[in-house]
Symmetry: C2
Subunit: 254 residues, 2 copies
């Protein structure tokens, strides 16, 4: 028992040192009494702002997206709370765990931001295909090139989140199939219903998506100067894709 007591004493002493390294955490007396007065003297005494729960949870979610996009999901709840100007404990009133907060972020970014109208936009054959493609990718790339979206998409993928994988495959199946079908129709070739998408066709699509998304990676991850004219660059990429695609159709037909 005395050996344990020794360890205890040894442990207690540096605790003070530890605390002093941070931003004046408390400096409190041993007794629990007179704590209010003491606390007000030592701490900055945050002004308490009472918000409607709806507003507060939205504020936290938005703040968390910005915070985790910057720091990764290893970012600490204390720092997030500080950045939001609220206490750390409050986070747990709106989100039972850090993990659940992250789940909400996924929902917000990867589910809610996927627009179903993209599909109808791509299939409106009253508009020339190249125009449809240009319009679609202009809008789509706005999402891809958003700093927060891109970084969290990468963090979630690296972390092995199933939703990132699901998003990636879903995009493949829905958009890729649609575009190739339209491209084939544009070239007078039978659609994907008859002959499924070939690997070169799929890779042509991946190539376009990769080059467009990479603009975002460059900008949001490696902080390398993006093109001054992003829209123009995307347009040119789509045009190249269109040319290469028509050429591929011609070659594949023979």
């Amino acid at each position: 028992m005395d050996d344990a007591a020794l360890r205890f004493r040894a442990r207690m002493k540096p605790f003070k040192t530890n605390a002093m390294k941070k931003t004046l955490p408390k400096q409190r007396s041993k007794t629990k009494h007179a704590k209010t007065a003491r606390r007000r003297a030592a701490a900055p005494a945050r002004k308490r702002i009472r918000l409607d729960p709806e507003l507060r949870s939205g504020q936290i979610l938005r703040g968390a997206i910005a915070f985790f996009a910057e720091r990764g999901f290893g970012g600490q709840t204390r720092e997030l709370a500080q950045q939001l100007g609220i206490s750390q404990g409050l986070l747990y009133r709106y989100f039972p765990t850090k993990e659940s907060l992250i789940e909400q972020i996924y929902e917000e970014l990867f589910v809610k931001r996927f627009k179903p109208e993209w599909d109808t936009l791509l299939t409106d054959r009253s508009v020339p295909l190249l125009d449809r493609l240009t319009d679609f990718y202009r809008d789509y790339s706005e999402m891809l090139h958003d700093d927060e979206w891109g970084r969290i998409y990468l963090y979630s993928g690296l972390g092995g989140s199933s939703i990132a994988r699901r998003f990636a495959t879903h995009v493949t199946q829905s958009i890729f199939t649609r575009v190739i079908d339209e491209l084939r129709h544009d070239c007078g070739v039978p659609g994907v219903a008859g002959k499924p998408m070939s690997e070169p066709e799929a890779e042509l699509m991946w190539g376009l998506h990769g080059s467009i998304f990479y603009i975002g990676i460059r900008k949001s991850v490696y902080r390398v100067e993006p093109p001054r004219d992003i829209a123009g660059t995307v347009r040119r990429m789509v045009e190249n894709f269109y040319d290469n695609g028509r050429e591929l159709m011609r070659v594949s037909a023979s």
Copy 2:
């Protein structure tokens, strides 16, 4: 003082519970005596393997690359040590801090794996340009598509490491300039010495790199089926790039 003692006791009890959750850490008696026999009985009693420091540090570095590529740099040193089959403390004999270990990883991946001969390969005008480009990108993409390389490149970039940024800009300046210069020469247009690389030219290069790297991202990050024929896909991307590039030169000239 008694209040402190209380806290101590309260603190001590769960320690045992905690320990039990892990893989049988110790279960040791209060006295320091008879520890060897006790320890051998309780713990798996790791067989001590003594290695040449050169070998050991290399083993640790290689293991750390695999480990952090999978887990990200938030991965814990204890788990890394376990995966290596060594004690956690040993890591600190070879690398003073976790941070320094990570620095070594950067050195290994982003400095040592950059091949200077790539430049000479690209400029050998006795070989047709398209062949040079195909050869270069076949070799270069081998690095880009390596699971560990790609994931750590992304993690380091997201983490804001300066070396990731430096690597990205260095690639731009050295490879991009070289390729565009060769492409211009191939089209009978004045080189980059006279007229610097234009934004469309740079973006054409970024597009190629993006689409090639994205194959790796797809494979290593999102675990989406990569093309069965990666080399062929890369070749096709280079061919498309070459065609689009020549077209761009033709248009730019007018």
